[in-house]
Symmetry: D2
Subunit: 363 residues, 4 copies
């Protein structure tokens, strides 16, 4: 396993779904950043399952503890270790299906890679639960970016085929936490909710799309030719369980266009270079171009469904059936929204440090 | 700039479009691999512009030289430096548009990031030309993977809205180099060629999609939670200029599905674990699952078009028009095919070394 | 701050002297390694202050908790987070000298680098206390190396000018924990103890030398030209507070020799390549040569002394005097012994993984 | 092999002693730095063998070529590839001793590690010749540091037991290139020369010590707890063939001192924090403290000697004798001086970039 991410700002993830803690260490955060556990708790709370959004009934309280790197309410330059206890854990369902991997899940690959020694309970290290640690790190990154005026947001744009209409940043900012779908459009949110409800009743699940935005990113972030902003964001986003695609700006749609449609013409706005469209999603040549960064993430439907599925018994090497019991989200897309935000924030903060856009000490 | 990629197998890229050389250093290749310059030359030749595929007229000979790391026809364990001379270079067009960035290109972001000191001729470091170095590294990786029976291939699946029907690995293997579009379906290839021809005549350009496959990858490659196979492949692929989206298996389509459709049921084939479908694209939990790895890459239309576009003059900070002259591909998708192959091969070879699937000395 | 070390086996350190915890995350440990908290506790206990060795009176119990990465008594492949509570902490002395840096300590450089936001209590992040985390990681590495038959040991060879005579590995193994000096020679140990006692009575402190050995290391570890075994070991050892020099084999003495004296002649022992002397300290060209690895580490005298010293007041920028109060070791050399062992073990385990000498799953 | 060094400023080394080229790629150099091939050539020339310093007769012209990363006399932000042709190469001696490893050399470890596929001619990748590439990279780093007023120098302080008296920075600056020993003291230089001459006549060789200094380094460079300035410098310096020890400030001598002697008292000089002694060698807690950085490097005697030595035949696994023929330096210490300077400069420039002390664009 490789559990750290970043170059100057480095996140190290630890913990398992049914272990004692899930947590994170953040290295390289400049000293002097005002930071309170409530800043982190607030973001972690947004990741909690919400009634009506097809989420698990697990009552995750996720009380965050910051156990190093803070002194007198400010970061010290030292690594920040944050963790949350795992509570309310019922591992009994997992024991039964230890050798019958759930289709679509990491059960089999984890078994194969770690020789059966992996902690399979609740998906272990491959559970969405570990993203609670990502969100803790993201909260630090967001506060850091805020000192440079950069804002990161995300919202659900599609679930089960229901697409939300385009939203402005203001609409997202105002609406995203007003409905359990984390969708900026309330009408679409309602339709999405119904789709999820229906899927759940059939013992099925749904996927969807989350869009992330970063506003006020100055030109110059990203270190091509390999540490491009797109590449680093994609790598960070693919660490979120269930992500199967990442695209920027016009993304796959660009592949169907002519250059004359897809190129973003330059213009001058208020004495600054700007573009009259943003098909590039704010990134050209792997470097931020000053426009809003726009990234979309495809999230597959939750693999854990109660409908019977074909699988195998790994001990006897024969086929069998499986109906996944236990608490499972029928759609994890809304819960992925703050995680997507966190990974974007973290990646941009690291890029900003590499570019020396953020100071080494914040006063 | 950050110009190296990989952990145990490390590629360092250097060179510019109109500089003296474009090249690469490959570190960490096991000793004992039989390798000849012809192995590399063959792959680099596949990247050359082909008549009828909308490519530039630049007569790039790209004679590869291997200047270190080889001895008596085998790798020595030492870094392998490979390079190709840049010839037939006409920089005159670029001088005129030095301060008028081409929409959709890295001209502006490079100017902003490097304070105007960047080598702007031919796009400099942001030219597709640097991918000749990627292909050299990929050729080494492919030979390395071949020792473990792993095969990587890629093909054009869509250009300008023309989609090729699904192809088998055999069809791709046989057909991909038979038409200038690098498309496994000859009928689709012909239609794509016409679309490109039409776009070119209008002074426009087209984007498209390249699909990459890796066959016979054993389960267990990929190092979650951050160095997932998807994340590492995506990062490598986003280093290819013009890539704006990456998806695995069902990809964005998965976001529209139910879990019952998208999960790949397990089965036993010949005593081995297999799946009856491959919506996961061969990767679960960031780890290879033994099925064919399938990744699709969205390539935006070439930004350099002769049609007049709005841009700005960076010295005078005022708007102006630009019609890009010089030799430019109306569609670079076919030329991206061997580059996509190379990045996949390189990433898998590095993952295989991390997993100790490949020996440190090949005998 | 950069708080992680290693390439495939990665240690991330966190915690401060007077914070809540000191701990470590170890990534990349192969799955299947039998590991119990007692394995780690045993090594951490060896780091505790011992009566008669000039050590602090701080009653550090250092009860280790392993909060992730273990399941059913074996490693899972997931990151192993280990920590120990800080107890019995008296920070009152530090408040007074917050702006009067102790000569020889990191007080001033930490103040300068982190803009005064650093946690200065007890030296904060620069305290020897953080090495408790290093030892936890080292305990994992030692168990890992043991599966390949590799053994690491260290012992005090010099304190305050008293040099212990040469010892065999057996003598070290048997005697090192029998006296508080961690010296393999009991006579020398007694003399060292007296020197320390004398220094302590004068309100002064003493430095010394620790020698580390690694036995049964096969040829081939180390990744030149930059990740040489010497370079990686040195980097790891210089992370131990107070280390000011590192030498291998004959070390600085080699600089005074002729080649004919210093070269180690090759021979055959039991059908295996060996050398008739070991001036190279087991490393040639940055690669292990099959002989015992021998490294010596110079540890400066503890900077915290009660004797009055010249320093400055950083607020008023004027000179002043300082007599360091509180509990301080008059000689930290014996306590450094298990830390030196740990850093050697960790570095070798990482090198062994890179070389694929250790399997990815231990069965 | 791992052939790159550094985090933001990254050096990738390639080439072998008897291959076609030896070279280097430098990534991450800020754009805008005025740089001419003569800046690099000048430093590389200082590495050349000098008559009277016990050096090889190989007429290495080492004409440096800069093949990327420069445009109009300034760095562009792109990777800088520099190389020098290998000429005047006679490999005949090596063929004969391919299977009879030279004692003290990397011949055997390279053979063992790379399965006999290594390029053994002239020591291949383990030859001192690859340091020509290090010096090229160092030349870039020195120009970079000069923009921040930082100066790096090195000089021979001991050869064959002859110790030069302490020298001021001015004396070093003026004298180091005036004698072939690169010693700041002309009397000592003469004695050293005689020792070398004598050793050579006996078919033997000598080691020595090089001291490196860095002046005007501001406080704050170095990223503890693992990327300490001492650790990074040591790692870089141990990449120089034949280095067996590295110490800072009082170094190993500190191990014999009391704290009251070894601590450097603080004072105020010209309104700035300073110390009245420099036993710390300019580094406290792994961070520069504003004083001159002082590091000493132990260089073992050249292993290649014409005196007969015991070795083995690796094919027949039996003992034999070896008298090394060919051109070999009786003492490589003086030639190591510019290499030590280069590694120090490179490491400090990387640290300065990490600390954001150097701008990303130099105007």
């Amino acid at each position: 396993m490789s559990d750290h991410l970043g170059k100057l700002l480095v996140l190290t993830s630890f913990g398992e779904s049914h272990g004692r803690f899930v947590g994170v260490v953040v290295e390289g955060c400049p000293a002097g950043l005002a930071l309170d556990v409530s800043d982190v708790q607030k973001d972690v709370d947004r990741r909690r399952p919400a009634a009506g959004a097809g989420s698990t009934a697990r009552a995750e309280e996720d009380r965050v503890e910051m156990i190093s790197g803070l002194f007198n309410g400010r970061t010290t330059g030292a690594p920040i270790c944050m963790l949350a206890w795992n509570r309310d854990v019922d591992s009994s369902h997992y024991e039964k299906m230890r050798f019958t991997p759930r289709p679509g899940h990491a059960d089999y690959t984890a078994f194969a890679k770690y020789g059966g020694f992996n902690d399979y309970r609740g998906g272990g290290r491959f559970s969405g639960r570990i993203t609670a640690g990502f969100v803790m790190a993201g909260a630090v990154a967001r506060k850091l970016l805020a000192t440079a005026g950069i804002e990161v947001m995300a919202h659900t744009t599609e679930i089960g085929g229901i697409k939300a209409p385009a939203s402005t940043a203001d609409q997202i900012r105002q609406n995203v936490d007003r409905n359990p779908l984390k969708c900026a459009d309330t009408v679409a949110a309602e339709l999405m909710g119904k789709e999820i409800q229906e899927a759940r009743q059939k013992g099925d699940s749904l996927g969807g799309i989350v869009e992330g935005l970063a506003l006020n990113v100055p030109p110059g972030l990203g270190e091509p030719v390999f540490d491009t902003l797109e590449g680093e964001l994609a790598k960070a986003l693919f660490a979120i369980p269930a992500v199967k695609g990442v695209e920027f700006g016009a993304g796959f749609e660009a592949a169907r266009r002519h250059g004359s449609e897809n190129n973003d013409p330059f213009t001058i706005v208020g004495g600054e270079v700007a573009m009259t469209s943003n098909n590039a999603g704010g990134i050209l040549g792997g470097i931020s171009n000053g426009m809003t960064i726009v990234v979309r993430v495809a999230i597959k439907p939750t693999p854990s469904i109660s409908t019977a599925q074909h699988t195998i018994d790994l001990r006897e090497m024969k086929e069998t059936n499986l109906s996944v019991k236990g608490r499972h989200d029928a759609c994890i897309v809304p819960r992925a929204v703050p995680v997507v935000e966190s990974m974007i924030a973290f990646t941009l903060a690291d890029a900003a440090l590499q570019r020396a856009l953020l100071p080494r000490v914040i006063r």
